[in-house]
Amino acid sequence: MTSASPGRPSIDPRGPRFGAGITAVLFLVIVALALLGATWIAFGLSVYAAALFAWGALAGIQRHPYGLLFRTLVRPRLNPPVELEDPAPPSFAQGVGLVVTAVGLALFFVVGPIALVIAGAAAFVAAFLNSAFAFCLGCRIYLLLARAGVIRARGAAAA
């Protein structure tokens, strides 16, 4: 029995957690810069973070630049993964990150730099928990949306 659904590529679960670690540090920097008054640098880094989230969500976590970094620099130094995982959950989590960051960027024009601080802090907590504790916030949100009937089952997965 394989660890992923048939027909879906499998990834090393440590890859997305490595990427989430970089993302967590990035959001700490964003929060710090926004608090210190370096507003436009914080804004620029938030745009960068949003662009990477969009990349991960749309192209899939396998094609995320941090994943490439992980495969070329980190994974050769580690033992082979105990099990592989489906790329769908971390790709969905990237979408959640995109929404949080985009809301922060949009609210920045309404309420000012505090929006970058709050969105950055929320994104930091999610990325940190993912990286350090393998907690998947996106999975919880997905479940709540599915419960509310917002997310409908995909036909291909009905088997």
Binding site: F133, C139, A148, R152
Partner: protein, 150 residues
Amino acid sequence: MTDPRPLTTFGRMDAGTTALVLAGLVLGATGLGILHRATQGRVRAASGCRVVSIDGVELGGRATLLQFSTEVCSPCRATARVLDDLAARTPDVAHIDLDVTHRPELAAEYRVLQTPTTLILDGDGAVRARIGGAVRRDLVVAELEKVLAA
């Protein structure tokens, strides 16, 4: 570089205060993580009052490991492997993995707030225990033995 809009909502913080805020964020997130880790896989006994009956689902003769999953859930797969294996080794014990994306009404009915959530049912389909998060094999085995012995 000057900011185009004044910082009306809060003043510019000094480095010390900023460092405190960052430390608070890291500590707070670590606390949440430790809390999360402590609750994962913990077995909570249930009263046994609730009897599960789901259309199109055949329960095991002596016990059932009823798992709620979603497609976007990595620990669900690891949990499914453990429960599948246990069910295969134990006669008359079934493992059922339900995707709540397909049956959202079940997620509401059984108050599933995280996936995987696993219910351990006895031979009558009564809920004996509930496990939130990825299961720990030893804890499931111990609980299953209790249910089978009852």
